[in-house]
Each structure stands twice: as C-alpha cells, then as structure tokens.
Point group: C2
C-alpha cells in the first residue's frame, strides 16, 4: 500500500540528533551531543524502595486507570512547590501532570495553534518544541537570542507587523541550546508585549532549578496577572527523565482544554511513576538532591570552559552559562558545522550542529551545541581537545 | 486573556462518561459504567519485586532517557508474542511501544488524517478513538454494527460513494461498547474492500485475549499481505492499565512516521514500566494470568446476563458476549437512555448512555453499555435489579 501521510506530518523528519547518536553509541566516541542528566545523581535506591512499597500496599492506585489530570497528591505537591520555589500560581491557574515536559508543549500547541498560524520561537531553540509546532502545521518565526536572552526589539517588530502570531515559545533560563538566561528587564518587556498583542507565552523551564550559584531569575509566569503565560515544567532534570513526568500550569480554562487533549493522547500519565515522584518528595530531600546537581554541573561546565579556553581557536564566541546543561559555541567565519561534524567524527568526538535548532534547518550554520552533564572531567577535557584541531584548522582555512 | 482555541479542539468536549463517574465515586452507587479490568487480578506482588530489582540493578536503563521506538527487549518480546498468539508480523511490519493503546490510535490519526478527511467508524464505537479522530478535524462516518460485526454492505456502499475516506477504524473482537465479534467472513470482506479502495484499516484489539472459551477469531492484521492494516494492542486489559503500555504494529514506513509523531508527543514511554512488563513476561506466566481473567470475566458476564434475564423488561435486545468487558442493551421504543440515567441515578446505579458512542452524540439513543468486570456477583445482581424497575417502567410507558 502507498501511504498518503497527512499534510502536517509529511515534511517532518526525525531529529538530526538521532543520527549523531548512532555514532555516540560507539564507546570509543566521546559524545558532547547529549542532553541527558547525570545518572550518577539518580536516587535509584530510594526509588526502588518506594516502588516496591507502593505496588505492595496500593495495588489499585498504582496499577488501575487513573484520572487524566494526574495523581491528586502529586498535583498538590507540585503546586505547593511551584508556589514556594518559583512564586507561580494565580488564583485562576490550574495544573495538570503530563508525560514529560514535551507533552505539555504538544498539548498546548494542539489546543491553541491552527495549521498556518505563526509561532514565535527563539533562534536557536529546542528541536523537540519546534518539531511539535511543525507537527501541527505552524509557521515558525525566529527571534535571535543574545547573551541576555531573546531580542525583544525584534519581537516587538514582528508582533506589530504580523496578525497571525498565536504563541511565543521561550526557554528563558539556561536556554537550550545556548545556555543563556533572559534578563529580568527583558522578561518584563516580553510579558508586556504579549499582553499588548494578546498572544500566549509558552514558558518552558526544564533547567531553571540547575542554577550553579543557587540564585534564581524570576520566571515570566511569576509576573503573570492576565493568565497569558502557560508554564511547562519537568522532573526530567531534577529527578529522572526515564520516568517521563512533567507538568503544565496555566489558566484553568486552558488546562481544561489540555485535559481533553491529553485524554485522547494517552488517557493519563502512568500512576506508578507519578506516585513514586510524590513519595520521593514526601520522604526525601529533593532540594538537597538539586543542590548536588547544581554543584556537579557547575564543576563540569567549568571544566569544559577551561578546556575550551585552552584548545579552541582564539577569537570565537561561546557562552559561559550560569546553569543548565549546555554551552553554545559559534565558530563564525562562514563555517558549516554540519559538514565539519563529519571531520570531528573521524576524531571520535560528536556535537550537535547548530542548524538543528534553527527555523530553517537546511541553512548552513557556524554554531554548535556542547553538553557536559554526564561525563568525567577527563572525558570532557579529552573531548574538547579532540575538537580543538579540526576547529582551529577550520577557522584558519576560513580566514 | 481570552483564549482562541484551535479549530480542531474547539468543539471537543470531555467524555460524558466522566460526568457519570462523578456519581460512581459515591460508595452507595453501583457503577456499571466503568471499563476497568479487575484489580484483584493485578500481579502486584510480582511487579513490586521486579520494580525494586530493576531500579536497584539497572538504574541507568530504568531512569535515563530511552529511545522513542521503545525498550528493545520488550519490543522483541511483544513481536514474538504477537506472532505466536495472533499470527501477526509481515516481513515489512515494524512495532513501536506506545503509552497505552490510546496513543497508538492518536499517532496513526495524526500521521494519516488531514482536517476534513473522513474516518469510518463502527456505530457505536469507543469514544476515546472517536474523540481522537475529532481532535484532528476528521469527519466521522458511522457504519452500523450487527451481532456478527460491522455491516460490510453499508461499508461497501460508503467506500464506493465517497473519495474522502482515509481510514476505517474497527474493534472486531468483543467490541467496545457492544461486546460483539466480527465473523471471519466479514473480516475477509472488510480487508478486501480496504485493499480495493486503498484505505487503511486501524484494527484495535484490546480485548481479544479475553475470550471466555479460549477460542480466538483470526485478527484482520493476520490476513494482511499489503500492509493495509495498522494493529493497536495493549497491556491494559491483560496486565494493568495504570502502566499505560500498548503497541502499534504496521508497515515499517508507517511506523517510521509514528516514531516521529511520538518523539514530539512524549519522547518515549517510561522505561521502568516497559522493563517491568518485559520482566514479568520473562519470569511469570502471562498466558496463565490471562486464563484466570477469562474464567473470572466469563463468570461475571454470565452472572450479569442471568440477572438481566430475570429483572429486565421482556422483549428488549441485549448482546451475549463471548469475551471482553461489556454488554450492550437496547431498550428500543424510542427511549432516551441519557434522560433515563437521571432516574437510575436516583436508584443508586449508573451505566453509560449509548449516545456517548455515536458519531452524533446529541441524538437521543435507546441503547446503553453495561460493564461487569470489577464487581462481586452480589453487586452485579443488585445493580441489575436496581435498573430493572426504571427500565420496565420506561418500556411500559413507551409502549
């Protein structure tokens, strides 16, 4: 049979990261291409005890169908935590547990974006989100990102010129892929522009807790008085991603629609994993665990930056993140990092070419994303060292 | 802010079953409205031991990000089982693990159905599926269901008259909500019609294993030579629904698209739950567990039918299922079972009104769905007894 794929899905391709991961599976290759949290920090012994107890003592709650909104005690615990840690939660806000942050993004898109509508995204941005928008036929409109976040002047211009913008997607804190954080001033202006133009903000904050110095920038959602911000959060980077647990907090009328969308998507997030996260928060010190993560990632990021200072060609740009999992590096000089990745693969090291994160993925891009979260210091230094020569050669040849 | 909901989601309402479930939460109410498997048959002790061991011994595999296609050993185990039990698996077929059977339906719809395309469904059919189709802007075209399954003459007529049909959705075995099974002859004809008209069949088979006499009707997918059948299976009714585990088997080119759709939906199904199902199948006797379910549901179904014979008005129609979880009852006489449900709620008993399962949910319907899977014999008999008087009164008044 010849399958006539739907218009919305026809042109959507698998993530380029997946192709690069094929090489990353070779143990002699150092992968700086990942985005995984460090498994050494997973509280697996604690979760093992919890899982056993839940299945033994609460077989119906843990194994029977649950409600679409999520396991009630977990919802309450997340609401309490969001209020305490991020000052999030208007009287008219509601919260739904989702199957990882990705699902929150998809549900909001399904509920809000018609085929042909425009969605404003940071350029570069997270491919999981941009592909979710593409999968509903959205037109992506990119806004450049500076070291203090999205260029809000460009945003203002787009909003004043176009009437088809349905949503603004932003990862304001420790952005994927750049690692940069939007300033408080820009957050305020972004919020005001959204209110002025009546456009929903989708604030994605999977990395916000991973601030190296423990200092948090106020979320855009914490400024929300109008219900114009939908906030996507996740347990993937603060507990364990394999559990596939996230949450979506937005005005209750919007969450009510998201619940209907989730009902036809996966009915509900598994009960056991929800109950495990809830019990972990009740019995153990999640904030303490996050402290350990901050210290570990701060150290690894510092190690990578020091190696980059030593081995990378002089005069190129890279970010110096204060949190999160990623460093963004721009070789400039018209270098195509996708083509260059073939050379670095020969050196047994991989990264993610910048084009992956762009609204136009076909256009050559001189930037790339590096990740440091899962490796030993030795591997981080060795990986950067291996990139050094091809990077220096490429820059020298391009000049 | 005023939210302008997308066209596809604008008119989609929550399931009517959810409203009825509110009454079902009252412990004095007997709910015949559910669709849950019997939690007494959940192998929770076995799963507790498995979960603990997996989290202790394989923390990375069970808690780190996994691949979108699913946990490889589980995929292999399900393929092997499908081949052995259902004779499913062409050389060009592939299989993806999904987050419950519902997700398989949603992914195929997203990949195949454009807004405005027609999807043929049995009338009545499973609301989770019909709402998934609605959520992608599909036009639903109903085909009546007889005691031996979908009326294939009507199907043939529709296929010859319309060119906008993209998919035929069927639950051929122990259909939800009717409990009936499509004959082998009709399955063959349905398959041939689909091939002739080049229309994909989505075969949904969550109840097929629950055959009271252990005799199986060949799946439509087992007849598939063209790759024209996408098969949706589930662990919800043979292991535990709270795990949210299902699988989708179809031509590899279609599965490749479904993988991309799943990547933007929830990245992957949780690792732990997938590994638990895989370990359970390795260590324990899933076929033996299913045998117990068959015997238990056969007994409960028999108990309900006997009570219906005794307490229900004479001369009305109801199905006598050979498997699955549901009995369909038609009071006829122009009775509106949605209106009637208000009276039965006063008698402390609830069912699902037939209109819920129809393409036009606003039209009054004289049928209703009954479920017997989770209750004691006493409750089943008492529930049917409570329905008896309002049903007899309604039929007497309507005559």
């Amino acid at each position: 049979m010849e399958y006539i794929i739907s218009e919305r899905m026809k042109s959507l391709k698998g993530s380029a990261i997946r192709e690069i991961f094929k090489y990353a599976a070779d143990p002699s290759v150092i992968s700086l291409a990942g985005g995984n949290p460090d498994p050494a920090l997973f509280p697996n012994e604690e979760l093992a005890g919890i899982a056993k107890e839940l299945l033994e003592d609460q077989p119906v709650a843990s194994l029977q169908y649950g409600i679409t909104e999520g396991y009630t005690p977990l919802r309450e615990a997340v609401k309490e935590r969001l209020k305490r840690v991020e000052n999030i939660g208007r009287a008219d806000d509601e919260l739904i547990i989702v199957s990882g942050g990705q699902q929150g993004i998809e549900l909001i898109t399904k509920c809000m974006v018609n085929e042909g509508d425009a969605v404003i995204v940071e350029e570069p941005s997270f491919i999981g989100a941009t592909n979710a928008f593409r999968s509903y036929g959205a037109k992506l409109v990119g806004v450049p990102v500076k070291e203090d976040g999205m260029d809000v002047d460009v945003l203002e211009k787009i909003l004043s010129e176009r009437s088809d913008v349905k949503m603004i997607y932003t990862i304001p804190t420790f952005q994927n892929p750049m690692g940069v954080t939007m300033s408080v001033e820009k957050r305020k202006r972004l919020y005001e522009l959204a209110v002025e133009h009546g456009v929903l903000i989708l604030e994605d904050n999977p990395y916000g807790e991973l601030c190296f110095d423990g200092k948090k920038t106020p979320t855009i959602k914490s400024m929300d008085k109008e219900g114009i911000v939908a906030y996507s959060g996740s347990f993937s980077k603060i507990l364990a991603p394999g559990l596939r647990l996230g949450y979506l907090c937005a005005d209750r009328s919007l969450i009510a629609k998201a619940v209907i969308a989730k009902q036809v998507s996966d009915v509900h997030t598994p009960c056991l994993t929800q109950m495990m996260a809830n019990e972990f928060m009740k019995r153990y010190d999640l904030d303490g665990l996050i402290q350990k993560m901050r210290a570990s990632y701060a150290h690894k990021c510092g190690t990578m930056l020091k190696a980059m200072d030593e081995y990378f060609p002089k005069g190129i740009f890279y970010t110096r993140p204060n949190g999160g999992l990623f460093i963004w590096c721009d070789l400039g000089n018209g270098i195509d990092t996708l083509a260059l990745s073939k050379k670095t693969i020969a050196e047994k090291v991989v990264y993610v070419p910048g084009c992956t994160f762009m609204t136009d993925m076909e256009k050559p891009c001189s930037a790339l994303r590096l990740n440091y979260s899962t490796m030993s210091d030795e591997k981080i230094v060795e990986g950067i060292k291996r990139l050094g020569k091809p990077f220096r050669d490429a820059v020298a040849a391009a000049k």
